[in-house]
């Protein structure tokens, strides 16, 4: 395994990916320093989710290189299971395990992937559930929870592995508007605690608030990147401007 002491915590270098003939990522290059929050914005199908899935090796990168915490992901001999333990991902559809209680959902990976004892795993899980105000639901099954509650459980399920990097893939897109706030508050707290995060999001206001850097993806390319004030107030690229004005219009209609 190659290590790389210097450079950013996450380094993405010229990453390309195809689904058949369709190129979904086109020479993406991006650095994410430790404790930074990067937001990926762009239309559906622009490659945001695919990029996040590549960072967790749920998708194979066909070209280019990704380094996380000095470990090269795009290396044949990489231990994917070991790597994923350091990188948490949360999906749009929560994907809680429906046959397990909330507590079991949070305890499963620490117990089986890290091999810690049941007691230790519970000691880890309960405070996390308390933090999101759901300790009372520890023994409930996911279908008894609202979407917002399920998504917060999914976030702490990832946190229970004590990851060094969190990837959030449009985690509020499937939620009713009134349920979004609690989920975003949890992400805000994570950002404040110094968690390194990459978010794909449609919540422009939130991106503006928490991001250190915003990247606008268009047809698999990062067509513009910069601090949130610049991207949202003074976008340079016409495509970015077009996208943002459409989103703003949609928000007015909603």
């Amino acid at each position: 395994m190659s290590t790389n002491g210097n450079g950013a915590f996450v380094q993405i270098r010229g990453v390309s990916k195809w689904f058949g003939d369709l190129q979904v990522l086109d020479k993406i290059t991006l650095d994410v320093p430790e404790h930074n929050v990067v937001c990926l914005i762009g239309a559906s199908g622009s490659g945001k989710s695919t990029l996040l899935r590549c960072l967790n090796l749920l998708e194979q990168v066909e070209e280019g290189e990704i380094v996380v915490d000095g470990q090269r992901l795009t290396h044949d001999k990489v231990d994917v299971n070991d790597l994923r333990r350091k990188i948490g991902i949360v999906f749009q559809a929560y994907n809680l395990f429906p046959h397990m209680t909330v507590l079991q959902n949070v305890m499963l990976a620490p117990r089986k992937a890290l091999g810690i004892s049941r007691d230790e795993a519970e000691e880890r899980a309960r405070p996390l559930l308390r933090r999101i105000g759901l300790e009372a639901k520890a023994d409930a099954f996911p279908d008894r929870l609202s979407g917002g509650q399920q998504q917060r459980v999914a976030i702490v399920r990832a946190l229970a592995m004590q990851p060094k990097l969190m990837l959030l893939d449009e985690i509020t897109s499937a939620l009713d508007p009134q349920l979004v706030t609690d989920v975003l508050q949890l992400v805000r707290e994570l950002a404040e605690s110094g968690m390194t995060m990459i978010l794909a999001t449609h919540e422009m206001g939130f991106a503006r608030e928490v991001a250190d850097k915003v990247c606008f993806l268009d047809a698999g390319c990062i067509s513009e990147e910069g601090p949130p004030e610049q991207i949202f107030s003074n976008p340079r690229e016409p495509r970015t401007r077009q996208f943002l004005s459409r989103v703003l219009e949609a928000e007015k209609l909603a």
Partner: protein, 238 residues
């Protein structure tokens, strides 16, 4: 009218029932034992083969091919022929231990071979019905492929396939009678012998009743599970 009375008498002579009962019952105990052993073996082996068949990657191709060949062969071959092949074939091979088992053991082997092929398909359908995002979520947490199968995919799959699985077991229970062709002294065989000796048929009716009596609870239980699942799904739709 005479012929009719003869038939009635031949099937429903009360005296013959009392006589046939002990013979058929002792044979039926063998059916029960074969069912129980074969069902446990089928549950375990079929799950193993279903998992082999779902293994990803080119390295697992020979295993997948083997699993497919197995299912094709044993689903395509009538169980009576499998019984002959096992019951007369294995002893004929003169392979020491495996050639010197009892006919009952060969009967269980034949039933297990055939029903494992069916139940493998049932498990496979169940495993495929679990949404890929469940596996992705498990893998993304750092669980290995087998851990994701064991803790996340298979438990959900098994729950979904219990009704079709029990249906196959109803078939298996009845097919324990077929292995009488290799000389297993189970209920159908005992009934036949009794009928030959006595010249009437109540022994067959007794055997039929035994089979029906153990099938009905299983069938009702399966119905109950199907209905429970449907209620649950309707409730979730709202």
């Amino acid at each position: 009218m005479h012929a009719f009375h003869q038939v009635i008498h031949a099937f429903f002579n009360p005296h013959s029932y009392t006589l046939a009962m002990p013979d058929v019952w002792s044979g039926f105990q063998l059916n029960l034992r074969m069912m129980a052993i074969a069902e446990v073996l089928v549950l375990v082996l079929a799950l193993g083969i279903a998992i082999l068949r779902g293994l990803p990657g080119p390295a697992a191709r020979p295993l997948r091919a083997l699993a497919i060949a197995y299912a094709d062969f044993f689903r395509g071959t009538p169980i009576i022929i499998v019984a002959f092949l096992v019951g007369f074939g294995l002893p004929g091979l003169q392979l020491g231990y495996i050639s010197s088992r009892s006919v009952t053991t060969y009967g269980v082997i034949a039933l297990t071979l055939v029903y494992t092929a069916y139940v493998t398909e049932v498990y496979r359908a169940g495993i495929e019905s679990v949404h890929p995002s469940q596996r992705a979520a498990a893998r993304s947490l750092g669980l290995s492929y087998m851990q994701a199968m064991r803790y996340v995919v298979v438990p959900q799959a098994v729950r979904r396939v219990i009704p079709p699985l029990l249906n196959d077991f109803i078939g298996l229970q009845k097919d324990t009678a077929i292995v009488s062709v290799i000389g297993v002294a189970e209920a159908a065989q005992s009934a036949g012998q009794f009928s030959n000796r006595n010249g009437d048929f109540p022994s067959y009716v007794v055997a039929a009743v035994f089979f029906i009596l153990i099938t009905i609870p299983l069938a009702r239980f399966t119905d109950h599970l199907v209905m429970k699942r449907e209620r649950l799904e309707r409730a979730q739709a709202f």
